[in-house]
C-alpha cells in the first residue's frame, strides 16, 4: 500500500494523467462535437465602434438559400429575453451605487464597440449563414468614439450610455485623502510614478464557440461551450431564457482550450445562440473564428496609474497614494469594474507594510470590448505599480533596492492590510534571498561586462509580489468509491489545463490509500456536478476543492470504519485506518474490501445505507477575508541591443511561496505559464484601438504580439513553501503568481540595462520600437542638458 502513496501522494512530481490523451489529439473540444440535425449560426458584428441604430433590414438575408431565421435585438426584446446585469455592489465614497448596464445580447439602440454582435442568421450550413449575414443591411448613424480611459474622462468626450454623462461607472475610494496628505506633509521624501498597464487579449487556443441543443420533447437545453465551470452559464441562461428554471439547462464541456478568466464569463453570443435554439427548437452550432474572438472576448488589464509613496528618513513607508483609471469598456460586466478594487485592491501595497493608504479608482466606459478577469485579475497590475515605484524610490532615496524592500516587507503575521485582508503568513525576505542566490545576482557584474564587450547592455531586475487567491469561500466535492474499489471524484471545478485529474487523485490516493490509477475525475457536466459546486478561477480549485475532497474522504473513512468493524467483528471505536487498510483486533481489511461490502446490503451493518459516496460542501471558516496569500520574488536578466532596441530575455529565477506544493511538476508548469504570460504583456502584447475610428488595430496574430518560445529563456522555479494557515492542505494557489512577478521583474531589468543611457522611464510593452524611442529621447535630453 505504501508504495503507491510514496510515488503518487501529496507533494510527488506525478506526471499528468491528462497529457497522453490530449497530446494524441484525443481531447474533445466544442467544435469536435457534431449533433445530428444541427444547424449553423453566424453573427453580424458592428462595423462601427459607436453608432445609433436606425434600422436593421433582414429581408434579403431571410430569403437567402438555406436560411432558417434571422434575429435582431428586437426579436429578443419581443420574446422577453432577460438582460445581463453585473452583480457588483461597490459604492462611491458618498454612498451612490455603481452604475450598471442592462445588456441585451443583441443591442437595439446603439452599438458601443466595433465587433459587438448586432444580428444573427441561422442556416442549414455555416457557409450559408455567413453568406446571408452579408445581406443584412445595417443602417446606423456613426457617433464619435472614445477608446481610452483618459479620453473618456475628458470634457466633451463621447458618451457611451446616456444616463452616464461622465462615462465613469464607479469612482471608488477607500477613504478621503486626508490621512495620506497628513503623513505626506511630514514625509522625508515622496516618490511618484505614472504608469500605463497595457491592455491584453487573453487568446485562449480554442476560439469562442457554442452548441445549443434543444430537446423539444423535454424542453431542455444542453449547452456545449468552453467554460471554466458550467454552473455559471447554466444559471445565467436559465435566468435569461427559462425563467430561472435551472433544471431546464445543462452545460457540458469535455475539454476547454484555455480559460485565463476570459472563459468564466457569460457572453452575449452564448445567450443569443441559446435563444436561437430555443426559438427554433433545433440544435444550433456557432463557431466563432479567431477574428471574432479577438474583437469580442473580454480583454485584460488596461489601467492608467498615478502613484506615490511617502517615506521617512529611514526609508520606511509612511503612506501610499494610488489613483487608477480602469478602462472597463462598453458594458459593466461581471467583474470588470471591481478588478482593481476587490481583485488588485486586496494586495494593493504588495509585499510591504503600508500604514496609510489612499486609493482612488475610476472605472471608465469606452467604445472598446469590456475588460474583465484575465490571469491575475487586478493583482498583476497592483504588484506592477508598487514594484516599479519601489525600484524608483530606491534610486531617489539612494538606498539599495533590496535593502529598501527588506526594510518595508510585512514581517509580522497575521497582517491586516489597509483593505481589511488578513495576510496569514509568509517570509518575503526568505523568498528574495532564495531568488538572489538562484539568479547568482552577486555574479552579475562580470556577466554585464561580457555583454558590454559584445556591444550589448545587460540588466537585472527584481520584483517581490503578494497575491491573494481563492476568493469565493465555498465549494462542493463528491467522492464515490465503487464496488470494485475504484474512485470517482465528481466535481464542478473544471480543469482546463491545471491537471486536476492528477492532483485530486494524489490527494485521494494519499488520504485513502487507493491506487492513483484507480481514481477518475468526472467533471464538465452540470448534471453530475454536485449542488453548491462553482468552478475554476482565481487560483481556487486546490484550496477549495482540494479541502472539500479531504473532508468527503474523512466521512467515507468514518463510514468505512463502521463497515470494517462489522467485517472484523470489532467495535467501531477500535478500528484504525492507515494507508488504505482498516485494522482492529489483529485483523484487517482493505478499502477495496470495505467498498465491496458497502455495496452488498447483506454484509452491511444494520441501519447503514449502501455505498461509499459522500458529498461535502466546504465553506472556509474565515470567509472571503481568510483567503490565501501566495507570494514570491522573481528575478529576470536581459540584454538590450542599444542600436535596434531589441530586448532578449536571458535568465529567469522564480522563488515562489504557494504554500504546500501538491505536485511540483504541475506547479512548475503553472509558474512557467504565468511567467510566459507576464513576459508577453511586458514584451510584446499590446491591444491597440484606433483613437479616431475605434477599430481594433491588433485584431490578428499578424499585429497582436503573442510571446513565443524563442522570446523566453529558461525559467528556474523554486519553492519556499510556508503552508497557508487558512486551509488544512496548506495550499495557497499557484496559477496567477507568474504573471504578477514577471512584468515588474522584466521591466526593472530593462531599466537597469538602459540606466547608463539615461533612460528613466518605460511603459509596457517593451517592443523594439518603444525601447528605441526611449533611448533616442534620453539621448536628445542628454544633449540639451
Amino acid at each position: 500500500m505504501e508504495a503507491f502513496t510514496e510515488k503518487f501522494g501529496i507533494g510527488q512530481p506525478v506526471r499528468r494523467k491528462e497529457d497522453q490523451r490530449l497530446l494524441i489529439g484525443g481531447g474533445v473540444y466544442t467544435d469536435d462535437i457534431n449533433i445530428e440535425g444541427q444547424v449553423h449560426l453566424a453573427f453580424l458584428r458592428a462595423p462601427y465602434a459607436h453608432a445609433r441604430i436606425n434600422h436593421i433590414d433582414t429581408t434579403a438575408a431571410a430569403q437567402a438559400p438555406g436560411v432558417l431565421a434571422v434575429f435582431t435585438g428586437r426579436d429578443l426584446e419581443k420574446d422577453g429575453v432577460g438582460r445581463v446585469e453585473s452583480n457588483i455592489n461597490l459604492k462611491q465614497l458618498d454612498g451612490t451605487p455603481i452604475f450598471k448596464t442592462q445588456r441585451l445580447a443583441l443591442p437595439t439602440d446603439k452599438v458601443r464597440f466595433a465587433g459587438e454582435p448586432v444580428a444573427m442568421v441561422v442556416a442549414e450550413t455555416a457557409f450559408q449563414a455567413a453568406d446571408a449575414v452579408e445581406l443584412i443591411i445595417f443602417d446606423a448613424d456613426q457617433l464619435p468614439a472614445v477608446v481610452t480611459a483618459r479620453a473618456a474622462g475628458a470634457q466633451g468626450a463621447a458618451v457611451l450610455h446616456d444616463e452616464l454623462p461622465d462615462n465613469c461607472a464607479l469612482h471608488w475610494q477607500n477613504d478621503t485623502p486626508d490621512a495620506y496628505d497628513a503623513v505626506a506633509a511630514k514625509a522625508h521624501k515622496i516618490v511618484s510614478i505614472a504608469l500605463t498597464n497595457n491592455r491584453v487579449v487573453p487568446v485562449p487556443m480554442e476560439p469562442k464557440c457554442c452548441i445549443a441543443e434543444m430537446n423539444p420533447g423535454t424542453g431542455r437545453l444542453t449547452i456545449y461551450a468552453p467554460f471554466q465551470g458550467g454552473r455559471r452559464v447554466q444559471g445565467a441562461v436559465a435566468d435569461l431564457l427559462f425563467d430561472g428554471e435551472r433544471d431546464k439547462v445543462r452545460h457540458v464541456s469535455d475539454n476547454t482550450g484555455g480559460g485565463f478568466g476570459t472563459r468564466s464569463k457569460i457572453y452575449p453570443e452564448i445567450i443569443a445562440v441559446c435563444y436561437a435554439a430555443k426559438s427554433l427548437g433545433r440544435t444550433v452550432k456557432w463557431l466563432g473564428d479567431r477574428s471574432e474572438t479577438f474583437v469580442s472576448d473580454l480583454h485584460g488589464r488596461d489601467q492608467v496609474n498615478s502613484a506615490q509613496l511617502a517615506f521617512d528618513a529611514d526609508g520606511k513607508i509612511l503612506g501610499y497614494r494610488l489613483e487608477t483609471l480602469v478602462n472597463i469598456g462598453a458594458w459593466v460586466t461581471e467583474n470588470g469594474a471591481r478588478l482593481a478594487i476587490d481583485g488588485g485592491g486586496r494586495i494593493v501595497g504588495g509585499a510591504y507594510d503600508i500604514p496609510v493608504l489612499y486609493y482612488s479608482c475610476r472605472n471608465m466606459m469606452t467604445n472598446t470590448v469590456s475588460t474583465d478577469t484575465y490571469r491575475g485579475a487586478g493583482r498583476p497590475e497592483a504588484n506592477y505599480i508598487v514594484e516599479r515605484l519601489m525600484e524608483k524610490a530606491a534610486h531617489e532615496l539612494g538606498i539599495d533596492p533590496q535593502e529598501l524592500r527588506r526594510r518595508n516587507f510585512i514581517k509580522t503575521f497575521p497582517y491586516t492590510t489597509q483593505m481589511g485582508m488578513k495576510v496569514d503568513c509568509g517570509d518575503f525576505a526568505a523568498c528574495m534571498d532564495m531568488a538572489l542566490a538562484n539568479s547568482d545576482w552577486a555574479g552579475f557584474g562580470p556577466r554585464a561586462a561580457r555583454s558590454q564587450a559584445g556591444g550589448k547592455l545587460r540588466g537585472i531586475g527584481l520584483a517581490s509580489f503578494l497575491e491573494g487567491a481563492g476568493g469565493r469561500p465555498e465549494e462542493t466535492m463528491r467522492v464515490q468509491i465503487q464496488e470494485d474499489g475504484s474512485v470517482n471524484i465528481i466535481c464542478g471545478t473544471f480543469s482546463h489545463g491545471q491537471g486536476h485529474g492528477t492532483v485530486y487523485s494524489q490527494i485521494v490516493s494519499e488520504k485513502m490509500g487507493v491506487p492513483f490509477t484507480a481514481i477518475d475525475l468526472i467533471q464538465g457536466d452540470t448534471d453530475t456536478a454536485p449542488a453548491g459546486a462553482s468552478g475554476t478561477y482565481g487560483s481556487r480549485s486546490s484550496q477549495m476543492g482540494g479541502v472539500a475532497i479531504i473532508r468527503a474522504c474523512d466521512i467515507i473513512i468514518e463510514k468505512g470504519k463502521v463497515i470494517a468493524s462489522h467485517l472484523l467483528q470489532a467495535d467501531t471505536a477500535e478500528v484504525t485506518f492507515e494507508a488504505g487498510t482498516f485494522s482492529a483486533r489483529g485483523g484487517s481489511v482493505t478499502m477495496a474490501e470495505v467498498a465491496k461490502a458497502a455495496h452488498d446490503t447483506r454484509r452491511l451493518p444494520d441501519g447503514l445505507q449502501p455505498g461509499l459516496d459522500e458529498t461535502y460542501h466546504y465553506t472556509r471558516d474565515g470567509g472571503r477575508d481568510d483567503q490565501s496569500f501566495p507570494n514570491g520574488c522573481h528575478i529576470c536578466e536581459v540584454e538590450v541591443d542599444p542600436e535596434t532596441g531589441a530586448v532578449e530575455m536571458l535568465a529567469y529565477s522564480a522563488a515562489d511561496d504557494c504554500g504546500t506544493v501538491l505536485n511540483p511538476l504541475i506547479v512548475h508548469g503553472q509558474v512557467h505559464g504565468g511567467v510566459a504570460q507576464g513576459i508577453g504583456q511586458a514584451l510584446c502584447e499590446h491591444t491597440v484601438y484606433d483613437e479616431e475610428t475605434g477599430q481594433l488595430l491588433t485584431g490578428s496574430f499578424m499585429d497582436y504580439g503573442m510571446p513565443r518560445a524563442h522570446h523566453l529563456s529558461h525559467m528556474a522555479a523554486e519553492f519556499n513553501p510556508i503552508p497557508s494557515t487558512n486551509n488544512e492542505l496548506g495550499v495557497k494557489g499557484a496559477g496567477e503568481a507568474g504573471c504578477c512577478g514577471a512584468p515588474p521583474a522584466f521591466v526593472n531589468a530593462v531599466l537597469d540595462a538602459l540606466s547608463s543611457l539615461g533612460v528613466k522611464h518605460l511603459d509596457m510593452p517593451l517592443t523594439p520600437n518603444n525601447i528605441w524611442r526611449a533611448i533616442h529621447q534620453a539621448k536628445a535630453e542628454g544633449e540639451t542638458h
Binding site: 532596441g645 531589441a646 496574430f701 499585429d703 517592443t767
Partner: protein
C-alpha cells in the same frame, strides 16, 4: 471563405488556361497566404488552380553560375538543401528564417515571389542576387519584377516556374522581425559580384527596393563602415503601430550595415 471551384491540372498550359478563362482565377501554391485571405473573405477567387500536380515545378538545380529553384519548392527544402547552403548560404539562411516550421513546409518560393508582400523575405534575395524570374511565357529580370504593394510584372494566367539566382562571391541577409508577425520589419540583403554590389531592402516600402547609394559606397569600400552613415529618407517609408517611419529608416541603415559586416565576415 466563399464558394469556389477547385482545379488540379497536370500541365502548365492547362493551369494557365484555366486561370485565365475563369471569372476570377488564381493559382494556388502552398496556400500560406492564399488560404488565410480566403478564410477572412479578403480574397474571393471564383476558381482556384492548384499547381501541386504539375511536374517539373519543384526542385533545386545548381549550375556553374546559378542556382535554380523551382517555383513549387518549399522554404524548408531551400533552407535544408546542402547544395544551396554551399552555393549561396545566405539564401538558405533566409529561407530558414521565414515564418515557422509548418509555414516553411508548405510555403513556396513561387508563391512568396508572386505575392510581393512588402514584408516578405524572398523578394530581398531575388533583387539582391539579381535573379531572373522564369514564367510559362518569359523571363523577367528581378529589377523589373516587383512593381508595388502586392504587385508584380506577372500578367493574368502567367505562372512562375522557377527563379534563377546568380551565385555571388559573398552575400548576407539580415532581418529585423516585426514582433507580432515575424515578417521582416526591415530586411537587408547584400551581395558581391566581383567589384559590384547589390543591396536590396524589404519591409520598408511598398515593395522591395535597392539602396544604390550603399551599393556604390560598397564598390569603393567593402565594409560595414561604408554604409554606416548612409541613411534613407523617411518620406515614403511604411509606418505602422509596430514601427514609425523614423525607426524604420534607422533600421534600414543598421540592417544594411550588419548584413555587410556578415558578408565581409
Amino acid at each position: 471563405m466563399y464558394e469556389f471551384n477547385y482545379h488540379r491540372p497536370k500541365t502548365l498550359d492547362e493551369a494557365s488556361r484555366t486561370t485565365k478563362e475563369a471569372e476570377d482565377g488564381q493559382v494556388l501554391a502552398g496556400g500560406m497566404t492564399m488560404i488565410p485571405s480566403m478564410k477572412l473573405r479578403l480574397a474571393s477567387p471564383s476558381d482556384l488552380v492548384d499547381l501541386a500536380d504539375i511536374d517539373g515545378l519543384k526542385g533545386i538545380t545548381i549550375g556553374p553560375d546559378t542556382v535554380t529553384i523551382g517555383a513549387m519548392t518549399r522554404h524548408h527544402d531551400v533552407h535544408t538543401s546542402p547544395d544551396v547552403q554551399k552555393a549561396i548560404p545566405a539564401l538558405a539562411a533566409l529561407a530558414g528564417g521565414i515564418g515557422d516550421p509548418s509555414v516553411r513546409h508548405r510555403g513556396t518560393i513561387g508563391g512568396s515571389v508572386a505575392n510581393s508582400d512588402p514584408a516578405a523575405d524572398y523578394p530581398a534575395a531575388v533583387l539582391g542576387l539579381d535573379a531572373t524570374v522564369e514564367t510559362n511565357t518569359r523571363k523577367i529580370a528581378a529589377d523589373d519584377f516587383f512593381t508595388g504593394l502586392f504587385e508584380t510584372a506577372l500578367e493574368s494566367g502567367e505562372i512562375i516556374t522557377a527563379v534563377h539566382f546568380k551565385i555571388p562571391d559573398a552575400a548576407a541577409y539580415m532581418k529585423f522581425p516585426q514582433p507580432a508577425s515575424g515578417f521582416a520589419m526591415v530586411g537587408a540583403f547584400v551581395a558581391k559580384f566581383g567589384g559590384e554590389f547589390r543591396l536590396a531592402v524589404t519591409g520598408a516600402k511598398d515593395c522591395v527596393f535597392r539602396m544604390t547609394e550603399m551599393e556604390q559606397a560598397l564598390a569603393a569600400n567593402f565594409s560595414a563602415d561604408a554604409v554606416a552613415e548612409i541613411t534613407i529618407a523617411e518620406d515614403d517609408l511604411l509606418a505602422d503601430i509596430h514601427c514609425g517611419a523614423d525607426y524604420r529608416a534607422h533600421l534600414v541603415t543598421v540592417m544594411a550595415k550588419r548584413a555587410v559586416a556578415l558578408a565581409a565576415g
